[in-house]
Point group: D2
Amino acid sequence: MRSMVRSVHRVAVLGAAGFAGALAAAIVERHPRLELSMVTARSDAGRRLDHLYPRYRVRRELESYDPDAVAERADAAIVGYPHGAAAPVVEDLRKRGLKVVDLSADFRVSQELYERYYQPHKAPALLGQAVYGMPELHRDAIREASLVAGPGCYPTAALLALWPLRGHMRDAIVDAKSGVSGAGREATGTTHFVSVDENVSAYKVEGHRHRAELEHELGPETPITFTPHLVPLDQGLLASCYVTPKNGISAADLRDLFRDAYEGERFVELADTPPGVREVRDTNICRIHATVEPATGRVLVFSAIDNLWKGAAGQGVQDLNLMLGLDEGQGLE
Amino acid sequence: MRSMVRSVHRVAVLGAAGFAGALAAAIVERHPRLELSMVTARSDAGRRLDHLYPRYRVRRELESYDPDAVAERADAAIVGYPHGAAAPVVEDLRKRGLKVVDLSADFRVSQELYERYYQPHKAPALLGQAVYGMPELHRDAIREASLVAGPGCYPTAALLALWPLRGHMRDAIVDAKSGVSGAGREATGTTHFVSVDENVSAYKVEGHRHRAELEHELGPETPITFTPHLVPLDQGLLASCYVTPKNGISAADLRDLFRDAYEGERFVELADTPPGVREVRDTNICRIHATVEPATGRVLVFSAIDNLWKGAAGQGVQDLNLMLGLDEGQGLE
Amino acid sequence: MRSMVRSVHRVAVLGAAGFAGALAAAIVERHPRLELSMVTARSDAGRRLDHLYPRYRVRRELESYDPDAVAERADAAIVGYPHGAAAPVVEDLRKRGLKVVDLSADFRVSQELYERYYQPHKAPALLGQAVYGMPELHRDAIREASLVAGPGCYPTAALLALWPLRGHMRDAIVDAKSGVSGAGREATGTTHFVSVDENVSAYKVEGHRHRAELEHELGPETPITFTPHLVPLDQGLLASCYVTPKNGISAADLRDLFRDAYEGERFVELADTPPGVREVRDTNICRIHATVEPATGRVLVFSAIDNLWKGAAGQGVQDLNLMLGLDEGQGLE
Amino acid sequence: MRSMVRSVHRVAVLGAAGFAGALAAAIVERHPRLELSMVTARSDAGRRLDHLYPRYRVRRELESYDPDAVAERADAAIVGYPHGAAAPVVEDLRKRGLKVVDLSADFRVSQELYERYYQPHKAPALLGQAVYGMPELHRDAIREASLVAGPGCYPTAALLALWPLRGHMRDAIVDAKSGVSGAGREATGTTHFVSVDENVSAYKVEGHRHRAELEHELGPETPITFTPHLVPLDQGLLASCYVTPKNGISAADLRDLFRDAYEGERFVELADTPPGVREVRDTNICRIHATVEPATGRVLVFSAIDNLWKGAAGQGVQDLNLMLGLDEGQGLE
């Protein structure tokens, strides 16, 4: 019967040698409606992806990037390049008509914010068509989009914590703790085991770039302090958020705000106690606990994600599902 | 020559089977002016301390507690019992004239605060003579005291971060991250390796008892939010503090405030970058970085200690040095 | 069409509050051909399994054990009780006709070996019908069995490493390294984070009970030294095996031995380099590298598994698939 | 009184930016009879050592290497360069009359063994004067030496485990587990946190270079299998040794062998149970447990060290103490 024939979309993952790209490739390969048609890498071309990441068991050779080859062999692409390197590739692919999910920062915010936090933008003309890829905030726009910017890991956890409170916040502080995979695959002094093990510290306290996304989504009227910390674990990110409400808010009202915001969301869990990142490891779920501190009336929100899943590759596939008209959670559960 | 004869003070460590007590015993044993005259334990009496804690190499048998035996064999005592269990022991020893450093919460705050956060107090008559044992705040009083309450680990890091700002704070948020040794030696679901490993989470977010000490030292006029988190490491505690100043404060003024507060302090280091807890592991040092966030004018202070050293046993010996008229840092460097 | 109706087998998981039982419940719940019909626990009855193990998201209440209720509601059972406690339960269920996979040690070896290493056996009459549940060794017998004993984690890794060499070994040394989940959920001094973190040590060096299984499967003629070590990680087990061959063996012959033994096995991977346990985490795969040491002619075999998957619950479901006539790997990939 | 004047030896630490060199500098700086007269580094010259290693608190600037400057300002040197780079520097310093402890592999074994395992030797003429710096084996020779080769970390643990058994071994297997600091400060794929965390694996199983030292000290007649493993911790190394004795040996005789070998040794502890590396962290102690496996008659020896202390810098200072006629343990306890 014809109705039984399910079409399969061919997807290329570019920059598949990085942590997010490799996971994206693994998710796509196991996805019932997507076909992993090619994987590319910049410096690891010629190597096999399962040799770099044995645990993902994607037995594919990494190829060099060639936009025409990608266009010929894929209907859509997930781009896992670093910011700055992504924009020209995205431009190549959009010219050739592919739908693109870009996991870099290149299309997440306005040109003005981008250039303030990053560098001169290399494909500003495309910014107008890019949609910020957080389905819980912009689902309908993502469905219509051909270019989606996958959100950063910190903003994902922070925005899902703060979104139900927008309009109610006088100010907010986000004290975030990330596992080391968030720092990427490059071997540096920062990612050396001996630097991280038995350690915890804040970094970039005077302005981490992910702040741009918070400002872009929440607007400039809410002053936000955002402080990332590195903790000795692999995958996992916890955002502890401290919000001074404009007006007092009761625990019951707070509960309603969050329930209303996330009712029916498959990848947001509301929890009765503060979540640990173990509870969401290797899942696309954001787990949130919100409460009012009795002594101060302050609102506390704790939001846990796996930085490689909901904070990068998992959310990217969620976006792609929407863009392709598939079930939003397919391949992610 | 007589001047060469250095007197040695005999010190008993009670509750030496716990993490803080064991370290206190180890520090006392290596201390050039203290003699570890006995170690006691409640449930581990009869066992050798170096069998429980091989790395400390204190080759002593744990004895049962007998206040007369302690009084006969020691001039001073460090008490490492849990709160509630400590007060009667402290009372025994004070009656017999010993100088006492109590590492529990029993004598840290007023009866009113204690009973609000803990339980009915078992020796309220002694509260009047107890001094809060943070030398950077109360050095002169500690020198004169016969009963000193060793501060909690969280309050140690938080108070050293906030003390220079008192009088300048509209409110403060303390987001603290502690290693697992802070949870004590008892084997529970919380301290099971599999619960902690690859995890980070907040706990007791609606009111951890260490808050009592913050309130006691800083006064009720400063609303404080205090949220402890557990991180997968052994020894180390980082307090990330977010302070809204009453009036704007410049980076230069902030630097002066901290320099003035801690000039000459041997166990406080002011750092140019946010400290990691590795930098203070196995030391009695509190390492602090303070900065003004340009975007919001908020003051950020990061304060790192080893929770077992400056947060418990090390600070306890520092107190004892002061009480006995010794050099404050002896045995601690 | 009738052929489209796939029957579903109802499976009870008893002892689902333990690490292996909880994972078994999670695998069964997601299994396309199994229905998780009930979960029981001894001391946690009444609690929800997803509260004990949030990451598995099995939203079911743990019930008390009642053999009649189990028999009424399930066609088969996976028993996750400790050794000694399992045998009577298995007896109950076999009397009522259920197929049983027992994850304890109670039915893994002969009565004689069991009583030498463990304790008097509580259901010796059942030993005759029990099959040792390692499909790579006893697949046909498992298919026919109604009672299968899931192998221990250490023997699983060691036997898969040594099996192709049986008949060729003069002696063998197994130096095994296990993550802490292998020690079970009970909170003890051994599983306390502070005992394990930054540590590695051997334990039970004069005779760990899992040795019984090695002896049972390989026979008494091969003298085996087996030394377990605890390493600071959660899930993962590496067996490093050192075999003195009876006669010299070439690298090529060794490769052939392993290839012949495991050709077509879905859950055994032969690797060109020594495997790390990360490569098999959260999988049912055993990854093996075998080589001949040029200097000594000794055979070195490194075998990595996830102790909770292939070393317990995963292999148990693999067994159940075989017993029920299902595809062997269903629900495990 | 003249006898009260204790001379102080000026010591330069070259290559102080590496893990072993930095610790050597820290030990020398706190040593009552040594003066840390200079520290050098190859690529980090100009930086402060306490900025690279805050926890050591050696507030000194790293200088470039200049042999004449070293000779002018130091009486002795500890060289922390990589193998190959060390030999020419050692030659420079020996020409200028300094006593040298070299922590590299360049002077540990014969030229023949060195060139088999490493590369062409750059200063073979000096090999004749070099003494292998393991005091428990070669104390008298070290006292007389002007050039001492600090042993490798793996050989230190393995040789201390096997030395009492020399002459009694038919063969030996050393399964060693090392923390990541043993891999050095260089940031590589191997030392990336994400590679090590939740992992354990063997490496260089067909011939690690430290084997040269085992062969050199124990002689070629004992066939030795040596397999290093990487475990997720910072400082610590455990050698699990499996020895087939030439003739049967009783537990009592074994105990005597070890007691006789190490009686009076300050840095060797004989333990009743298998040691964990936590028990020796940050110490110069090697902790050993030896036992006879009843079932096989095989001798099992477990030997734990801190790879940076007894396995590198600590043992280097122990050597230097001997060379300078100081108390062997000074500065190390």
